[in-house]
Point group: D3
């Protein structure tokens, strides 16, 4: 068995792939196990629509069939192609969003999600339904900012903090960063809301470590 966790960014963005790798860099690994972050070169620039979501499923399957690993992570908060990829390998396949939700429910009963744009909510809702946890979503707050603004260090802070506060007011007891671009703002969300914060790359890393350690 290959001794690596393969984290696959299903979009083609190098910046996004680097962000995922940065978020995963602190994850410790046991001797003999590596973690690699790759991207789907033929993927879309982002998974922003149902068409994007469907389009990456088969390329993901192909990549997994070519690249052996001890465990796989689909590194997008809409878990695209998860079931298809699971059928393409006997090794564990994890969706980053499901990992974040699972981590959230180990910390509290109700979670809120800060999303990138309203249009990404339906795919996350479908994942929550698959997990049986839709009723535990206290609220979903989209930022609706252009990606370039989101990636600046200062510009989006006010909007992010406001979203975090609104989630707390609506009963969230923990907050999931529902967009990989938010990884750098985890401390801000925690401070604004006073709640535990779950970053999906980190959550998926921990879950993949767990899965990869079992033969």
């Amino acid at each position: 068995m290959s001794r690596r966790i393969l984290v696959i960014n299903p979009n083609a963005s190098l910046a996004c792939t680097r962000g995922i790798a940065a978020a995963l860099a602190p994850l410790p690994l046991p001797p003999g196990l590596a973690l690699e972050v790759t991207r789907l070169a033929e993927g879309p620039p982002a998974i922003a629509s149902w068409e994007d979501w469907h389009s990456v499923a088969l390329p993901l399957c192909g990549l997994v069939e070519r690249e052996p690993a001890a465990a796989y992570v689909i590194a997008c908060v809409s878990d695209p192609g998860l079931e298809a990829v699971r059928a393409a390998t006997r090794r564990p396949v994890l969706g980053m969003f499901r990992c974040a939700v699972a981590a959230a429910v180990t910390r509290a009963e109700r979670f809120g999600i800060i999303g990138f744009v309203a249009a990404s909510q339906p795919r996350q809702r479908r994942a929550l339904q698959a997990m049986g946890l839709e009723a535990r979503l206290a609220a979903w707050e989209p930022l609706d900012l252009p990606m370039e603004v989101l990636c600046e260090p200062e510009a989006p802070r006010g909007r992010i903090a406001a979203a975090a506060r609104r989630l707390a007011e609506q009963g969230a007891e923990t907050i999931i960063l529902g967009c990989t671009g938010l990884a750098g703002h985890a401390a801000l969300v925690a401070e604004a809301s006073g709640l535990p914060v779950i970053e999906p790359c980190e959550a998926a890393g921990a879950m993949a470590l767990l899965a990869a350690m079992r033969p």
Copy 2:
């Protein structure tokens, strides 16, 4: 902030504490973070009743107040005293059973549980209700074996394999080892059922690592 994960076995058994430590030994840790397994010296020999379950809550709070840590794990599959201990510290506190259930729902939609004795089911049911995941329990199969038989390497294998198969037949898509004494039989359960297996110590270790890495 203390740089350790403190795993607390709420019963006083040294053998049980050693078993937990063994299950957690392979968990990698980042530089500067340690993991320690301790026991509640004043705890009961096992958490086998609701009285036992209540009795450890205050001692656990006391221990947590005395012993600083980056994150705590209550190392018993009935998550005793979880809410009380959470109120006793600002650091994350994780229940081993909730961590196992969370790990299970990252792998499949329905899980089965192999339990030690029928009497331990009601406390696990209460935790599933708190998580909103009671409807995802496909089946719960108790072994109803004496602890000394359970701890032998060969004697309980037939009973364990039969329980694993029954869970698969009833719709389980992953299996949680609902008793820390089963850690050594994970491979047997996987083989008998053909399903992914979640061992609670390992699941809690991964979740604690995730929680401890965030300041």
Copy 3:
């Protein structure tokens, strides 16, 4: 079999015990059946935290083992130690909060709760989950008043009436007084909300009567 209903206030407050006894005084009893209200002398002044909640479980079991009765009521709206006490006796054991919720659902489909302080909600939520009735809670409104204000006849009336009205606006069809200290304000709540009001001591008394009459 002892021919009494034993109502146990799990806190040590004499004033609170007297209030419970006063609320239960109008309950009729059949010939040969008595109702006694007692307190847990070693209990905390109030059940205000998860620590308090756990701390009374074993003393309650001890008291029940020493004091035979036809039926027992745990007279606190967080139902502390209920499962443990049930394991300590073959006679029926009732939790005051569960009795109030049960009475509420015989009157309407959705109920609201006026609570003492926000901190007591999580324990009531857990009881609602155990009953499968969390989705029928229309709203929970805490008073967040100091206990001494709550016990005055006039001072808290404005706050109580406002809470009652907010519950009605949020879809409650009946109101549970979620704090034994509110027993004297039942008429005010009914008038302010226009809704049926359930007082937990009374509800538990009726349920205990039902349980005690069966051999």
Copy 4:
């Protein structure tokens, strides 16, 4: 305000009415409060179909409008006309089935029901849906015996005991006698199942007492 609880058998059977009165006879009443059992003279011989169920609603409203009371009980385990009667009076109106279910959930988490004939289950299912408690029904076992056999003291015992045992095997933790004709067999059901038994007349009596005592 009239100082009586009026229990209305919505069918015209004198035998059935006498049975209800007998079941309620032990209920204690406070000074000044009476309990009367009456029947709907124009009702059908039994509520055995949806037609029967609808047919009694308006006559029940008429009776309630003519006969003042402190509280009303509709004494049939399908709760016919409950909402209509509630609109016909400002006083509390209780359905016997809902009262039995409420009493059951004060005693345990899952209940089973012994029914008269399979045809009566859909109306009880609708009441469980209204209460939000359908998922807590562990099993429903019909006797499917002729009424005259059911009313004999000995003949139906084997069938009743077998139904009680099947409910226990299917996860019931308490048993509701889902037919007023079973009142005389409560002890048998308790013995055969080892579970608490709820008799609907008694449950409704206790709930009516609770409701009638509040002005």
Copy 5:
């Protein structure tokens, strides 16, 4: 087998019956199948209360027994007498409200309902519970207009458009016209909300066509 769909308005209003017939007029029919709209001559002027709702059940059964048809529609948005009528014939019997809800869930996940008056909501809620779809009701907005205003072409437009907008704001993804008098305003609701609109007469017509075509 009779080759007609019989649509029965359970109230006696000729205007209402004509409105139903007008809404159904565009429905195509296969050769040999007719659609007839009739009214319950002995019905109340409208189904506005639980008494009205119960009162039509037996007359509907009688009418269905006298009038053979390939399929029946009960043409009122509270589905009165549905189960009773189903027991009175072996042919399919459809409730107009259930058909509208079913059509809504083929178009989106969450629906809103514009109702006539607040008093009609409880009967629709009961139907949603029977369907298991109560949790998918995003919001229910009553118009609370006098019927004569509702039937004017212009006067109620502002109120209707406002209700449609409020439903969209509360998360409705499709809108059910919860009152047959709204059939003429479907385009207004669609325009004001930007959402698909379901008109119950049309939905029931399509479902009856489906049911009637199967022998």
Copy 6:
């Protein structure tokens, strides 16, 4: 607006496309509205896996963008690409499985499904979750027959009848033919089970008619 309903078989099978057209042939259409059945020429031979399911989403979008229609039906019982296609057109898009489930819940409270092979269940389960109706699935019985056997007139009858009977025994109150190849066996299923039968092509036809008639 184009005046046709476009029914798209997402697989490339001509036989399957002809079967769909045959099932839809009896559907009446209003003057000026046509119904056309087409296939996705580039689709797989059948939608038998998650890869197949994803693979057709983009081609379906492309087809819908090229081919104007008043309403579209995706004619496969796993509703592939439904959300993506909805985003590709402003006209109504219906999934055949969701239409069948919707039709089922207009006829009874619990439905059973006869499926082709066990492997197709997870995609139907996901659709049921999206509809909020997973709890109303009484049972799912796969035939697990080779397609060529399924398409013979006599050979599969025993297996189909047995599946229908098992569904009835497990509480189904109506049966959905969960595979388009079963259309010819509807009468057999009805006879074997004694229950109403829903054929998805017919159900989708009726729903598309409803949707297409509204401008």
